[in-house]
Structures are given as C-alpha cells and as structure tokens.
C-alpha cells in the first residue's frame, strides 16, 4: 500500500500538512474528488469518508498526525470493501455444476467464458460450453472458435431456438455425459430492458446454476451501481468477473459495486487471450484507486 500513500502525500503537502479544521476539510474534499474521478459512486465515497472521520474522532495513542491516520484508514477501508483473497467458485463436489455468465453488452462475457473454461481445465475439470446468445451475429461461432482453440466441447446451439430451450437440452446432455462444469454464455443486455432481464430470471430458474457470474468492464462509470443492482434483482449473481483490468482504470466502479451489492469479485480479465485470466487481486485495484 505504499503507492497509495504516495499519491495522496502530494495532496497532503500541498495543503501544508497542518491539522486545523479548514486544512482537514480541504484534505477530505481532495480525497472525495479523487475518488469520484476514479469512478467511485458518491454514496460509497460518502460512507467511506464518514467512517474515516469517525475513526479520526477517536484518540490516537501513537500520536500520529490526523492526515496519516486518515490515509492509513482509507487504505484499510478500501481493502476491507474489496475483500481479502478472491473467493473460490461454488461448484458441486460431485455431479454437473452449471455456471451462468451475465452482463451488459460488450463487457467480455464470451471471452471470459473461454478463459474460465481454460482455468477449470487446468484444475482437471471436464468442461462444456453452451452459447446462449442467439441474437448477436456470429456470437455462437465466436464461442465455438474459442472452444475449438482450447479443445473444449461447445454445444451446437441452433440460433433459431429460444435460449431457455437450448439451455435445458444442453444441461440434460451434460449431466448424462458426466460433464463437471457447464458454462452458459448469455447475450449482453441492458439492465433496463425488462423483457431481457425477465429472460435471465427464467434461465436461472430453469438451470438452477451453482454460480452466476456478473461480468463487468473495469472501466465502468457512475451508473455501474444502478446497473449491477438490476442484475442483482433479476438473478442475484454469486460472483463477478472484472474485465479489461489491463486498461488500467482507476477502478472506482468495482469498489462501488462491491460495496453496494456485496458480490465478491472472483476473477479478473487482464487481456484478450484465454490465459489472461487471474484470481481477483484487490491490492491491484486499491493501488490504482488512490493514484
């Protein structure tokens, strides 16, 4: 967390490092703006700052200056929100597990399905992929190519069928073939598209997946929380995949979505290849947040 403090020490020294009320207020406002510009949601930033001010109102037995205590507190609060180690996938110990992947258009779902498949295969799991995006041109083909490159079977989805029908047939077949994990790739959709969100709920009800992964672009802005909340309403995702982390965004959106929905971030995408997939590293985001 050294870099975190470095970034803000600048703001600190610019404010003369004094401990009076107006300096402290200016310091807090600088941090607030920094976090807002890092794409963090104002409510989350507000809560964070409030908790820090409460901490500061308690006496410090080490006699450290308020600003240093504030910064250390900030690092700790951010780390707490983002969670410690990445939580593992929820899979059945025996039998076929279903994983459903959902999110807005273009966030990296299809690519992430390929990455997740590769990851599971290194854990000796036997995987099958099921394309459920029957709408986007060549979406089925995209997943088939990814599967072929990884030598992982892909269900032969008929684009003229409804996703729920395809899903049921594929899951039945996977269970029969004793597949360990079936991953369902769904079409990107707007959180405000009621009909498509209902389709997702229906899909979840029919598949009863062990894991529903919300795929979010790390560059998301201020509407990330309200969007995520709608996905929570529809299917209550059990985990998140944060993509395009290699674009090196400040990451305020993931901090905010994590804070407001509690969904643990399980993996992060750090590039376009199937191997560009890592367990979520909260320190990586935390460092960038206060840059």
């Amino acid at each position: 967390f050294e870099r975190l403090t470095e970034g803000l020490t600048g703001a600190l020294s610019a404010l003369g490092g004094r401990a009076d009320d107006s300096t402290r207020h200016a310091f807090i406002e600088t941090i607030r703006d920094r976090l807002l510009d890092a794409d963090a949601h104002p409510d989350v930033v507000g809560d964070l700052i409030e908790r820090l001010e409460n901490r500061l109102s308690r006496p410090d037995d080490e006699g450290r200056p308020a600003s240093e205590r504030f910064l250390t507190g900030l690092e700790e609060e951010i780390a707490r929100i983002l969670g410690g180690q990445a939580e593992p996938l929820r899979l059945r110990s025996s039998g076929t597990s279903a994983v459903m992947v959902v999110g807005l258009q273009g966030t990296g779902k299809t690519t992430s399905v390929g990455k997740l498949a590769q990851h599971l295969r290194t854990q000796k799991k036997n995987v099958m992929l099921v394309p459920l995006d029957v709408k986007r041109p060549a979406a089925i083909e995209q997943l088939q190519i990814l599967g072929r490159d990884l030598d992982i079977p892909v269900w032969d989805t008929d684009a003229r069928q409804k996703p729920v029908k395809v899903a049921r047939a594929a899951l039945k077949a996977a269970e029969k073939q004793k597949v360990d994990v079936v991953i369902f790739d769904t079409a990107g959709r707007l959180a405000i598209d009621q009909e498509l969100m209902r389709e997702l709920t229906q899909l979840r009800d029919k598949l009863r997946p062990q894991e529903i992964l919300y795929v979010m672009d790390a560059m998301a802005g201020q509407t990330a929380v309200q969007t995520a909340e709608r996905f929570v309403e529809a299917v209550r995702p059990s985990g998140m995949i944060l993509t395009k982390v290699d674009a090196d965004p400040r990451g305020g959106a993931v901090l905010s979505v994590r804070a407001r929905t509690g969904i643990p971030v399980k993996f992060m995408g750090v590039g376009e290849k199937a191997s560009d997939f890592e367990p979520f590293d909260p320190t990586r985001i935390a460092r960038r947040l206060l840059d």
């Binding site: 807002l36 794409d39 273009g106 990296g108 041109p137 083909e141 672009d217 802005g221 395009k244």
Partner: protein
C-alpha cells in the same frame, strides 16, 4: 475579499451530483457550474437552474456537432476504439445509412484477431446488402485495409474499415493502428479522411484518456458514442470536446442496423439534466 458564491451550498451540491452522476468528472462539473453561476447569478430555484443547465450544455455541445453524412464515395472511413465499444455494430449502422442514401459502400473486416470478428461483419454485410472485404483470421490487418481501399476505389465507393478492439495503453496495438493508417494513406493520398472513435456511454473517466491516446496515435476526426439507449449518459464527452475539440458524429441507441442517430445536442443534454 472573496466574492459570494453564485449558489447556496445545497443547490451547488445538487448540480454537482447531476453532472458527476452523468460521468462529467469533478473538474468539468465544477467548470460548468462556474459558468452557469456567472449566467444565472442569484437564482436558487433548482428547476429553473436545471433548465438553464440543460440549455447551457446543449449550447456548448452545439459547437461540436460532426456530420455523419460527410464521407463521400472515394473516401475512407476508419473506425477505431477499445474492445467492446461498438465498432463492428457502428460499421453495420453506417453502411446501412449510407447505402439507403444511395452511396456505395465497401466494408473492410480489418479485425483479423478476435474470434469470429470477420464472420460477425459478414453477417451484417449480408443483412445491409454491402460487400465485405476480408482475409482469413490472423492476416495482416493493414493488408485487409489496403485491399478494402482498392476495392472501394474501383467501385467509387466509401471504404468503411472496421478494426480490432484495442486498449489505448497497449503500445504494440497502437503501433499496429498507426501502420493501418499509414498503409491506407499509401493506397490513397489523404486517406483516411475520417477516423472515428467509438466510445461506450456506460464507461467512466477512462474515456478521456482513450480519446487522448487514439487521437495522438491516428488523429481522431469524430466521436461515435454508443449504448446511449442504456443507463450511461456519456458526460465525458464534455471534457473530451473541451480538451481535444473533436466533434461528435453520431450516437448508437440499440443493437440493430437502424439504431444510429446523428448527434443532437439538445436531446443529449436532456438525457443528462
């Protein structure tokens, strides 16, 4: 002596919340409020202020309206942007629009990297009724661009070239884009006349750095803001236009070939305020 602020704290906070919530960023939000304060001094009725804000935003963005119908047969339009920002779908929409206007178009599938990228464009080409020039996966994108320009020149058509998504911080990929641009320039003097950057309306402040890097690499002549039918309001176009002066060409408001609208400042501002 410090002049009394134009708005009371609560009013200022509400205005700031509106703009920050729309992804303006704090610097642009404060600048806009400052300017509004000079014009609407002393007005503290929030509704009146919001209306004035909407008007001010529309007025300011009116200076940055691009022309989606500017490209002429024989010219080259290059579509660039980060991964998933809607380039391929924008190409389909533009091709459809121009074809309906009677302009011949040849599409170039210069994304030779991503799985099924060329196939995605081929499906669109068929639906729109426009020829798609492509090579096999892994081919040199510059070579596809070159072929496309040649085919378009022969047909006196607009060459509309789709490229692979790329992260603005990836030096290697930005170099690849520069090479594509150079090769197009070799095929036709002065081409590409139009380089349009697609931006995802649901993203945050990273959009500004994207615009800077792409602009510095290949000279962006227009912005296309996609997914405005969603919740994102793309307030970042304000700091982008302010800093780089790049006009906004069009907006994407859905996933179909018809879902493209020329940029209209009033409607855009009305979404925000």
């Amino acid at each position: 002596f410090r002049r009394k602020p134009a708005f009371d704290d609560e009013t200022r906070e509400q205005l700031r919340e509106t703009l920050i919530g729309a992804d303006f960023g704090t610097t642009a939000a404060d600048a806009v409020i400052e300017a509004l304060g000079r014009k609407a001094r002393g007005v503290n009725d929030l509704d009146a202020l919001l209306a004035a804000l909407r008007e001010a935003l529309a007025e300011r963005l009116a200076a940055f309206v691009g022309d989606v119908d500017a490209p002429q047969p024989g010219e080259v339009v290059l579509i660039v942007g980060i991964n998933g920002s809607g380039k391929t779908t924008s190409v389909a929409r533009l091709a459809h629009r121009w074809k309906e206007q009677g302009k011949p178009v040849v599409i170039g599938a210069a994304d030779t990297f991503r799985a099924a990228a060329a196939e995605q464009l081929e499906v669109w080409g068929e639906r729109v009724g426009v020829r798609v020039v492509r090579q096999k996966a892994g081919a040199d994108p510059a070579a596809v661009a070159f072929d496309t320009v040649q085919a378009a020149q022969a047909a006196n058509a607009i060459a509309l070239i789709d490229t692979a998504g790329r992260i603005h911080g990836d030096q290697g990929l930005m170099e690849e884009l520069k090479k594509i641009r150079r090769v197009i320039g070799k095929a036709v003097e002065g081409a590409p006349q139009h380089v349009w950057l697609t931006l995802d309306a649901s993203q945050g402040q990273t959009a500004i750095e994207q615009a800077r890097r792409f602009h510095e690499a290949v000279g962006v002549t227009g912005l296309i803001v996609n997914k405005l039918d969603g919740e994102g309001m793309a307030g970042f176009v304000y700091p982008i236009t302010e800093e780089l002066g790049i006009p906004i060409i069009a907006i994407g408001v859905g996933e179909g070939m018809e879902d493209l609208e020329p940029f209209a400042p009033e409607r855009f501002a009305a979404q925000i305020v």
